[in-house]
Symmetry: C2
């Protein structure tokens, strides 16, 4: 279950998603991903490049053929996720649930 393991890491799906269009530079990709730590971004990019899903060209990072293939598989999932988000929020009264709150507890400035 190697790929699913990879997809289970934080940011991996997001990175693939952000690369759906044109190639992005490291910093551009980072900006697209809410300014992830460069260390984490680089780790994930290394993973994805090793897995052959992303490649680095002179234009920046972009999906390989495999990566694009995977993206098309993931599209229905994104659509489902959006529909689900809508009907869940409708069901519980618009306010986000506790689910995600625990995830990123709004760090202080340090």
């Amino acid at each position: 279950m190697a790929l699913l393991d990879l997809l289970g890491r934080r940011w991996v799906q997001r990175i693939i998603w952000e690369l759906r269009g044109e190639a992005l530079s490291f910093r551009g990709l980072r900006a697209a991903c809410d300014e992830v730590s460069p260390s984490v971004l680089n780790a994930r990019l290394t993973d994805l490049r090793t897995a052959g899903l992303v490649e680095s060209t002179e234009d920046g990072y972009q999906l390989t053929a495999d990566g694009r293939s995977l993206l098309t598989i993931m599209l229905p999932l994104h659509e489902w996720a959006e529909r689900w988000a809508r009907h869940v929020s409708a069901e519980t009264g618009t306010a986000g649930r506790k689910t995600g709150t625990r995830a990123r507890p709004s760090r202080s400035t340090r």
Copy 2:
């Protein structure tokens, strides 16, 4: 991107996958997931129940209608993952790549 955030956590996809068939008890599910820590399993189950994807019945844990719906969306992804795993290993010479090696560095027994 709440659902994708949820799916980006470790074990979540696996749990959904293991519940594809019949309902499983807590310990049964744990066994199916390579003996995950009960603390993590419980945390993920709480997440999934809060999200309305899994429910706890007298027969054990099982997918809700939403959960099963999501599962059907995820099926193509699993198939793609298997195909991909085969062609990657064929390409690199059967031995697993470095990708996963860094991931779980084979803990000592403790």
